[in-house]
Amino acid sequence: MIPAQFDYAAPATLDEALSLLAERPDDAKILAGGHSLIPAMKLRLAQPALLIDIGRVKDLSYIREEGGQIRIGAMTTHYQLESSERLREICPLLPECAASIGDVQVRNKGTIGGSLAHADPAADWPAAIISLRAELVAVSSRGERVIAADDFFVDMLTTALRPDEVLREIRINAPGGRTGQAYMKVHHPASGFAVVGVAVSLTLGADGKCSAAGVGITGVATKAYRAAQVEGALVGSTPDEQTTASAASHAADGVDANGDIYASADYRRHLAVVYARRAIAEAVAKIK
């Protein structure tokens, strides 16, 4: 319940934060909403020597549209995303995914950037971010780079962020045309984390055939992944009941699934298939 001691800095600018981080990349941690890091610190499983609180850095919390992209500041809270009317119109997957995270209090404080950078294998955002083929903007005192969602999640609790980098922004190409989206999840009864979570963003062409599909799955393996075979089976086909089921059946192909006392690896794979089908059907149903 009581964290170990640490030094604390609350820089007013990102540059300041980055230079602090550059000085101590090994033992400093960035504090965003704190909803992944502080619990670990209270259990003393994480004992950073320096906490760099970016909560006071201006302009890290926003939802903007720029150049056909949705740009989300890393410090945007889950609740801000959940309650964004604009996102509900142009990318409803984001508010839907946000609403499924934790609980009201967690969503009020936890941030999308913090969650992504922590890369919990059962976190919700990675599935959505992968399905939307988002780009993640990492900055360090050396400069800025853009990481594709597929490359961002490296392993359990491990991202492509370098020790001196901070996740600054998430960029998503606003889905156009006849797009339907859904996030469906099996909540762990105790933690609320995703036992399995499937995010789907699916676009239909004028011919009624699927022209683009994104399917991201979390909770099953040590990290969220893109269900490429499901996407492959969807694109070019008419997503009727049969096609959807057959595409979804590949949701866990080749995945080295994790098991725990609540759900075995086999069951997680099975749930991935069921929830992929349901999420695809839901996404299709939402297309008007």
């Binding site: 670990a40 259990l43 499983l45 294998p121 490296v154 392993d155 762990h188 040590t222 080749g254």
Partner: protein, 175 residues
């Protein structure tokens, strides 16, 4: 908790074996191993500074190699205690030659205690697999180095990335 897996290393079995029994190589391959001092035949005292992501701990303990059968089999026993609890692992490694490379099969038992056990059950299996992958990826690199050449460096990130790219290849075999 049982873990098992198979890693294909692109290095000849003899080299892999040599790497597996060389304490300096082991030190570089065991994730987070800061110190590995010989305390007896095939026994070593170890300091592991290891973890996944933000979750880190320092463990003091021992590494022991048993049931050696050159160059096909041994058993590695790791034991560490630290602030977050303790971890123990014992695994049998079997080396098989295949197409000039080596297939290493491992089957073992991982046990954690203390805080790690009481709060980490959902992640332990994944973490164990991840560490095994890191170990073998590093080992492959070691075994590929000609004797006499300087050893490779296994940055945590680089190791992990390599491990995962292998995994990714496995998962998303394109048709």
């Amino acid at each position: 908790m049982k873990i098992e897996g198979t890693h294909e290393l692109r290095a000849p079995r003899e080299r892999v074996w040599q790497a597996l029994v060389d304490p300096s190589v082991l030190q570089r391959c065991i994730p987070g191993c800061e110190r590995l001092e010989r305390t007896g035949e095939d026994s070593y005292a170890a300091t592991l500074r290891t973890g996944v992501g933000a979750i880190k701990g320092v463990f003091q303990g021992s590494v022991r190699l048993e049931d050696m059968s050159v160059p096909t089999h041994y058993r590695i026993v790791v034991d560490g205690k630290g602030q977050p609890g303790f971890l123990k692992g014992a695994g049998d490694l079997d080396l098989e030659e295949r197409d000039g490379g080596t297939v290493v099969r491992y089957a073992g038992d991982v046990q954690v205690g203390g805080t790690l056990a009481s709060v980490g059950q959902r992640m332990i299996q994944g973490a164990a697999k991840m560490m095994a992958a890191q170990f073998f990826t590093a080992l492959e690199a070691e075994a590929q180095v000609e004797q006499g050449d300087p050893p490779p460096r296994h940055g945590f990130f680089r190791t992990a990335l390599r491990a995962i790219s292998g995994l990714l290849r496995q998962i998303f075999k394109r048709h």
